[in-house]
Symmetry: C2
Subunit: 233 residues, 2 copies
């Protein structure tokens, strides 16, 4: 069914602190490796220690060290914000001061028309413009000051990869994932301690804080016991 | 030969940045584990990130994360200070304001007499006192305010475990190791950022900064590439 009713939410993970979607993350850890994906049992006393290589946030848990992928964490946060707006039919939109014309290939243009409804639902205001061009007049507010043309083209590209017409849920999930990925803090970005703290707290309030929208782990865990073992203590 | 000449140094590791003594540390890492003992090629740009579980210092290297065992690091530092003093026959000694009588078992007393010369060389001023007691009048200054009686008894205990009479080098090494171990910062000790920085810098100036006097690794290394792999990036 098309999503036209706020009462018909996307079929995405919704219970907090649940298992990650792919069980393989867990089985990797069971082979006795040091670094294992962390499944949050509950948010316990976590303390931000600092940043590694401008890309990872090091966090102390009572049991050991957590390494958080800052880029993927922000993807998750954005994704959930967008999803929430979508479910409430209130994706905040920003009108562009200078509407953005984009020339498409014919294939792209046909796909734009095919997915126009869902693209609009996800917060894009895009109109056909001439024979195979479009003009972007509004984008999801969450995008901030991004490269809208590139995001829109990436989105079409992603939707074109479906062989059969995807379900509306699949389309919307792809839109959200594309948008979230584009707008996230990139790796190699220094963060202030307060920014790391905010990112962690915001992430812990999302529905699936242990995986990014693509299903990759957000936290790696290295237990204090394991560190001691490796130190031969 | 007995060590009576400063020109006959202890046969201990002396070239900086050399391989750790036990090759097994290295082979462990080669089995594809995440955490591997770090052999310093040279002290590159290292940055202290913070402390984990009041016991480990997290350090950024250009290639990834280093985890330093603070207790073992200080053992190494003290050990080298003592060794240096010993080689120069200048182990600074502190006289005890209140000389400390210690009652020994007969076996302990015999061992004390057997190793009296080396014990004195290492900075202890201990005299027989009655039938099988001793009185400690001075200790290596590096000991600070330690539990001298316990250190002295540990030392005897350690020396008694040799089946054959050990070489003077072995005796002295055992004394240094016992002393260094006792006086080191314990694990579970919070450190200020400046204290972590000082500890790291002092350690890097020692002769064998990658192993503690017992031969255990001081640094574990977790490469940034490995973290990315584990994040499935």
């Amino acid at each position: 069914p098309r999503i036209t009713d706020p009462a018909a939410p996307l079929s995405l993970p919704s219970s907090p602190w649940q298992e990650p979607r792919t069980a393989s993350f867990i089985s990797r850890g069971q082979r006795g490796e040091d670094l294992v994906p962390w499944t949050l049992s509950r948010p316990t006393e976590l303390r931000v220690i600092g940043q590694l290589q401008d890309s990872f946030i090091l966090i102390e848990s009572p049991q050991g060290l957590l390494i958080l992928d800052q880029h993927a964490a922000q993807e998750r946060i954005l994704y959930e914000k967008l999803k929430q707006g979508l479910q409430q039919k209130q994706i905040p939109q920003q009108q562009l001061l200078f509407p953005l014309p984009i020339e498409l290939s014919l294939a792209e243009f046909l796909h734009f028309q095919r997915f126009a409804t869902e693209i609009a639902q996800a917060g894009f205001q895009v109109e056909p413009f001439g024979e195979k061009s479009v003009i972007v007049r509004g984008v999801p507010a969450a995008l901030g000051k991004a490269d809208y043309a590139r995001i829109f083209l990436d989105l079409l590209d992603r939707l074109m990869q479906f062989e059969q017409k995807p379900s509306p849920e699949e389309i919307l999930e792809n839109i959200l994932t594309t948008v979230a990925c584009h707008d996230a803090i990139k790796a190699n970005h220094p963060l202030q301690p307060s920014q790391m703290e905010d990112l962690l707290q915001e992430l812990l309030q999302t529905e699936a804080p242990h995986t990014c929208p693509h299903g990759r782990p957000l936290f790696l865990f290295l237990s204090g016991a394991r560190i001691r073992t490796r130190f031969l203590r």
